[in-house]
Symmetry: C2
Subunit: 248 residues, 2 copies
DNA sequence: GCGGATTGTTGTGCATTATACAACGCAGCG
DNA sequence: CGCTGCGTTGTATAATGCACAACAATCCGC
């Protein structure tokens, strides 16, 4: 009995509220969780009391409350990696003209925790807070390839014809990624989007995140990838150096 | 008995984790909430299972988990006001050279939900997710002055010598704010920082947020404030027009 | 404007559940 | 090597949250 039922249910409700773009009714919540309407009502009321949910005055339906933004802020502002990475992300944008991202490992997925946008009108942005699969993004592959403790994902869902879906092929691909020190996503997650990323290590040599750039395949030709990779690698190495001096 | 105890305790734990910059121990959590260590342990374990908390491997202490960032993202990206306001914030930065912000009312405070930074090296940034008091910020005063339903804050804490701490004085000040249609913060919250803000209304004429600019007192001289106010007012009015056509 | 249907909220008894107390394993440290 | 402080794990008890049901409120078509 290591899981508090009502807390778990409350968290699940928040996730349901987050997943749906429109406000959700009590009945829908109850049906989705397989619990009674009255339980769902009281749980979501408790969430509302503390600002984690709020009900639309007109429709009586519930949506996520503003309190979650506060939690998010205090997490992001207290992340030393994020502060340290910011100038390097800016540098990457300056040198490559593409958008730069920082991601960490969260729940066996890549969580984008910061982004610097390029000035190009055609650009590839991935909002802060996005979760992306590990096996088909450059940032994710870095986390996957350089982190020892992480288990390979069991399912390899396909997003484009180029997505690597064979476990053996992925293993070889990650092997190559390790050798060259950086990862490439060649239109494996989004059509027409290529990414290059490199891992960031802490003082113990453990992967704590990855930084990289994303751009349209047109500007990020395969012949230019090695150049981009070098730029990203340089930034990631310098950032890793910085991170060696602070803990966590 | 409309409040589910264990869910409420879990939420309080998240707030404690968010409030503390360093990881928190189980004992501290238990003491802070006035509950037993074992209860705190199981609650925070449940949070950890779902990614809302995570424990530092070395110290066994707990900090906020990455899942909260996801929740925040889905809230912010589904906020029509935020999308609609973005170009106006950019416009404000272009026209004034100062940082522009968008805030909404949350838990009787001003919650900053978006920001566009200026290029100036000396600039006043307020991170997305920040909560600020209503009575001493320009954005907050807008929410306070133009929202009928909201009660005046009971306590008026002072942050600088200029903070308005007398309820009667605040009432008069808000009256003037209503008349002129915009609010001014003249170094009442941060030394050397002045802000100008104007309210945003929806199709029913209800306040749904406020936009404004913040800058160092040096550049935002009192003689220039009327000009800035006009620029902010124009943007807020146009944004309100846009918001009239979509609900919520 | 009105009846029917759907939805959200409010009692209440019961049983599940979360809780407090205590014991245990495990570090760090003198 | 024993001590102390910490986090986790049993366990019994009782408080708590749950399902069922009735109620209130809203929306729908006609």
């Amino acid at each position: 009995m290591s899981e508090i039922q009502s807390l778990a249910r409350g968290l699940k409700i928040m996730e349901l509220l987050a997943a749906s773009s429109d406000p959700v009714s009590i009945t829908e919540l109850a049906a989705e969780l397989g619990i009674d309407k009255s339980s769902a009502s009281r749980l979501v009321q408790t969430l509302a009391i503390y600002g984690y949910a709020e009900q639309d005055a007109a429709s009586r339906r519930y949506r996520l409350g503003p309190q979650v933004v506060r939690l998010s802020r205090s997490l992001l502002t207290r992340m030393p990696l994020r502060d340290a990475a910011k100038p390097f992300l800016r540098q990457l944008v300056e040198r490559t003209g593409e958008c730069a991202h920082l991601a960490i490992l969260a729940q066996d997925q890549a969580l984008y925790v910061d982004q610097v946008e390029s000035a190009a009108s055609l650009r590839v942005t991935t909002g802060v807070g996005t979760l992306a699969p590990l096996h088909c993004t450059a940032l994710g592959k870095c986390l996957l390839a350089f982190d020892n403790g992480i288990a390979s994902p069991q399912a390899l869902p396909s997003f484009t014809p180029r997505t690597i879906t064979d476990p053996q092929a992925l293993r070889l691909h990650l092997e190559q990624t390790r050798r060259q020190g950086y990862a490439v996503d060649d239109e494996e997650y989004d059509f027409g989007v290529r990414c290059v990323a490199a891992p960031v290590f802490d003082y113990r040599g453990k992967v704590i995140g990855a930084i990289g750039i994303s751009g349209p395949a047109g500007r990020m030709g395969l012949d230019r990838l090695p150049h981009f990779a070098q730029v990203v690698l340089d930034a990631a190495r310098e950032l890793s150096n910085r991170m060696s001096f602070q803990r966590a």
